[in-house]
Symmetry: C2
Subunit: 386 residues, 2 copies
């Protein structure tokens, strides 16, 4: 994996470079094995077989089977497909990605609040459930804070509620959906262990192809297609299958699976080092997100009274690329809804950086990044004092 | 452009190999300029600028402006977006792609019939228009027969109907949508000259990236997003922008634009040669599609009483790859709805091959293909006689 030699990339949560092995796996399907997988001749049938094998491999990586997957053009499409498949009341945390919030708004919905660390409690979910609630959607990990949610416990609540409904002769469905895009490369995303009914993953967050995602749905769930036509993906998503993208996705998932544990440790150690450096240089800095339940690559840190946008530009001049808040929303210039939800005051929210480490992070560039951040923040503090 | 040396590809209407220049143009955005175009630092802003420039180039190639385009994951998504944006009665030919037929079924709709050559007359459209008709959708060229529709004349009818409605104080909208995917590399697709209000194009049919399409909508049309979230593509299609895909699409469109005329002539001459060889060897063979208004690469030919699937397999053994009917539908084994619509009897429909020539066609391999087809058909005729 290579990138601009000059820059230190600390924004893996916004985008990841495609792994060279992913690109190599996809390449043959661009101009050699380019056939339409629905064509009747042997080379096209081989393409179909490769496609199905890739889906099978992805399914295995999350503990599912291929016929429970719908390949999509990314997490946003997957989320819309999940929400579009239910009708009734939905429950979502206020700190979800814009895609989930926007999809929820198309339903009767309740927005639930996290604690100060960005964590959603089982109790909060429980209180929000209504008799007509059909879907609860909670990201595995928050994309700004890195806070990991107690999905298994929430899944348990959903299961119990469902069982109780059935015992009462109430057939109103109730599903738990999770967007696990932020966690895939670093956390276990086995659907059975998570206990979810629907799962969204984005290949672009895990060194896979961009414009590629999936929705996994437990086999008893009947989805409602958003895109109709030729009837591909079991009728749930028409359009010629994304062969190259799915094969790249499978390669990315296999790499993630293989290196997950050691990569989580490696990246976590680098993040801890940066965090230690920054909090030691600035005891007044505020680290947000859960201390224990946090993605190993995430560091959300605020300097109240400092303008984070100035920090981003100052750091960029030193070749350090970081984000203020989430990079996923096209509508910029607004204060992060996540930071407001965890109770950060405006001055603290506006002084926040999100660092997200990943495959491009090394001990050397992480150390250099910490030094640059200290220097740039120092300069900004001095500028304000003057 | 290279492919399996052994095989002769005569199915360009089903899929095209990505041009090497398209792949080269996309490559930097896989792992080098991989940034999220919404990120705030300069390298990401450069990615955003490259993306916008590519959209601008694509827009120019069809005589539009970039802010009228919505980039999608392919023609099927574009078609669904167009149909999902209107509510009211829609009119579609019975010979449209499954995506259009399926999208139409979600509305009150009238299906109109073509003539024996697969052509839709202005009169037929006129008769189908109702007071509550809001959308007419007609492919520029039929994907099975290659028949090119009189879109400009139909556009004129739509314009007149619209003007008349307005004069009567009736504000019911009326739009003409066309899926031009089959025509892009070989026909003029300038939106003003075609006179359409909405246009779908699929990059994968024009040697561009797969899983990449666009919907152009005249600027006075308000679309209804199918996929909500971060608000990308002017809110009409959320999800991180497909930077590499759009850049590849722009390259493909530029190549198509540059070579369109000479490529149409070149491919047309090869098609005519194959057609002459086949009809001379088999005077009883039936060529379908319009004699004059037909895509230069298309040849639809039938041998009544012969099993086309046997021909496909026989030809494949000789390295010649052709289709029976359309390869776009996942549901196979059914008789083509297009051939039924133009009045081919079952025995003729079942004996049909679709040959579609394109960039991989050469005088040598076209000649060889014609010889192979003659041989395989001959053998099949003799087998039946026995």
């Amino acid at each position: 994996m290579k990138t601009d030699l000059e820059s230190i990339y600390l924004d893996h949560a916004a985008a990841t470079p495609m792994s060279q092995r992913v690109i190599a796996a996809m390449q043959p399907y661009f101009s050699l094995d380019f056939y339409n997988p629905s064509s009747p001749y042997a080379p096209a049938i081989k393409v179909r077989r490769d496609y199905e094998a890739a889906k099978q491999a992805i399914a295995q990586a999350i503990g599912a089977t291929a016929d429970e997957l719908v390949m999509t053009a990314g997490a946003t499409e997957s989320i819309n497909l999940a929400f579009g498949s239910v009708s009734g009341h939905v429950v979502v945390p206020s700190i979800e990605h814009h895609a989930v919030l926007a999809a929820a708004k198309q339903h009767s919905h309740t927005t639930i609040e996290p604690d100060a660390h960005g964590r959603i409690s089982v109790e909060t979910v429980k209180q929000a459930l209504r008799a007509d609630t059909v879907l609860v959607s909670i990201a595995l990990a928050n994309n700004e804070l890195g806070t990991i949610q107690p999905l298994r416990d929430i899944a348990q609540l959903i299961k119990e509620t469902r069982a109780k409904r059935l015992a009462d002769g109430d057939t109103t469905p109730l599903y738990l959906h999770s967007d696990a895009s932020q966690g895939v490369g670093l956390l276990d995303v086995n659907v059975a262990r998570l206990g979810v009914d629907l799962l969204t993953i984005n290949a672009a967050k895990v060194y896979g192809p961009k414009q590629m995602g999936l929705l996994w749905a437990d086999r008893h769930i009947v989805l409602k297609p958003q895109i109709v036509g030729g009837g591909q993906e079991r009728g749930y998503r028409s359009g010629t299958e994304n062969v190259a993208g799915t094969i790249g996705f499978a390669t990315a998932m296999a790499l993630a699976d293989k290196h997950r544990k050691q990569e989580a440790e490696r990246v976590g150690a680098l993040r801890d080092m940066i965090e230690a450096q920054l909090t030691s240089a600035f005891p007044e800095a505020i680290v947000s997100g859960h201390k224990k339940h946090r993605l190993p690559g995430h560091l959300h840190i605020s300097w109240p009274g400092i303008d984070a946008e100035r920090l981003v530009f100052g750091l960029e001049a030193q070749g350090v690329l970081v984000a203020t808040g989430s990079a996923c929303a096209a509508n910029k210039g607004t204060r992060s809804h996540v930071l407001t939800a965890i109770g950060l005051d405006d001055s603290t929210a506006d002084g926040s950086l999100r660092l997200s480490l990943g495959a491009l992070s090394t001990p050397e560039n992480s150390k250099r990044a910490a030094e640059s951040i200290i220097q740039v923040v120092q300069k900004e503090i001095e500028r304000i004092k003057r």
